[in-house]
């Protein structure tokens, strides 16, 4: 059994985003997806802070900090890109103009509910950012996460115990072990890594897993 690295999950997600898509990547792990766009595809990446057509990170030693993505990473803009203000940026998000949003998650419920903010432990001040808008606005909401939490429990749950970011919004979950589609309140395993059985995965998951008719092995190039 060979779990996917975060880079490999990012690679896997990138394969599922068609040429010409408009995509917002959440801060942190999801940002890695842009490193794995397959050759020949043009994907237009959006950032909440008013950018479309984000290119590679800035490589110069001195960074232009007026050209950042929503995670404060200095980036570049591709030819064909555009700047716009926050209200217009969220017209794009809330208005359903984005094809894909890739978000991290603490929990996803089988009905598609997403919990990805406000860790209840600790005394961290609340931070929601644009995630709630992205959760309801994008045509497809992809979640990128490890299958199991640090305590060993599956992060796919019958019902989220953590505060929600959005209700019934998640369409597909990409993890280190499996790819799962959420359709009409049911969880379908579309891909699973070699060396693990559905039975053993089911035994550690409180949600009923169904076998997609198109079930295949989940794998990614080692170099990703």
């Amino acid at each position: 059994m060979q779990q996917l690295t975060r880079q490999q999950i990012a690679w896997r997600i990138a394969q599922d985003i068609p040429d010409g898509s408009y995509v917002n990547l959440g801060s942190g792990m999801p940002l890695m997806v842009s490193d794995y766009v397959p050759a020949g595809r043009e994907i237009v990446f959006h950032a909440e802070n008013g950018l479309l057509g984000i290119g590679p990170r800035q490589t110069a030693e001195s960074k232009d900090m007026n050209l950042i993505n929503a995670g404060n990473i200095p980036v570049t803009l591709l030819p064909g890109g555009a700047f716009f203000h926050h209200a217009d940026s969220f017209v794009m998000v809330r208005g359903g103009h984005l094809d894909y949003s890739v978000l991290g998650a603490y929990q996803v419920a089988e009905n598609g509910d997403l919990a990805n903010w406000d860790l209840p432990q600790g005394r961290k001040a609340p931070a929601v950012g644009g995630a709630m808008d992205l959760a309801v606005g994008a045509k497809h909401v992809f979640v990128m996460m490890e299958y199991f939490a640090k305590d060993g429990s599956a992060k796919i749950v019958p019902r989220c115990s953590l505060p929600l970011t959005g209700k019934g919004c998640v369409t597909t979950i990409y993890t280190d072990i499996a790819v799962l589609d959420l359709i009409d309140g049911k969880v379908w395993v579309r891909e699973i890594i070699e060396g693990i059985t559905l039975q053993s995965l089911q035994a550690e998951t409180d949600v009923q897993l169904r076998i997609s008719p198109a079930l295949t092995l989940l794998s990614a190039p080692a170099s990703s």
């Binding site: 960074k63 007026n66 404060n72 700047f83 926050h86 209200a87 940026s89 931070a127 606005g137 929600l164």
Partner: protein, 240 residues
Amino acid sequence: MINKIVPSAEEAVSDIHDGAVLLLGGFINCGFADELLAAIHARGLRNLTAVSNNPSVGEGGMVKLLSDGRISKLICSYSRKEGTTLIEDLCDSGLLTLEIVPQGTLAERVRCNGAGIPGFYTRTGVGTPLAEGKEHRDFDGETYIFEPAIKADFALVRALRGDRWGNLVYDKAARNFNPVMAMSRAVTIAQVDHIVEAGDIDPEHVITPGIFVQRVVPTRAPARVMASAATAVQTSAPVS
């Protein structure tokens, strides 16, 4: 003759009063009107409400207002200040009240005020803790919540270029919330890196037309938007 140019930040903020509601352009640490915020701090104003996407990064600008207890309420989408417990400490000691608003809802609530619209319905936040106590209403089988317009006294924005009529253009991602805050019904004060002649900004390229801007103040210190890789702090949330 129209001349909205005010020579100094001190003069530009001289009528801001204790208890004022301030709209701040800026995102993370990009596009804040830092010299206006410093001038407000120097005036010793208290009990301010700041409407800002996040506490700015670094130690200047609004952070000094926050850490010195001048801001009693912060309306924002992201209240954490990485590497410090400033916000948590202020909240625990009762000196600061937070209102957390999803980022797109924050932008639209400010635009509503500028557009003569009392609030708007959105699906954003439905079913989450941020919907509690809010009016819920169904349209075409979808549930929405009502988010009221945010009224404010002053908007403090940062622009790249501006003219005596108040027309503004911005620098790349430093645009962010600035045109939205400027559009509000508040008195808009713009800190501008380069003052240009009226007509120097092509009318096709104006982002904030002068009607939305009451005062234009030249930036005193040159723009410092270049950072070495080491100081380009990441403020990403651990997830999302």
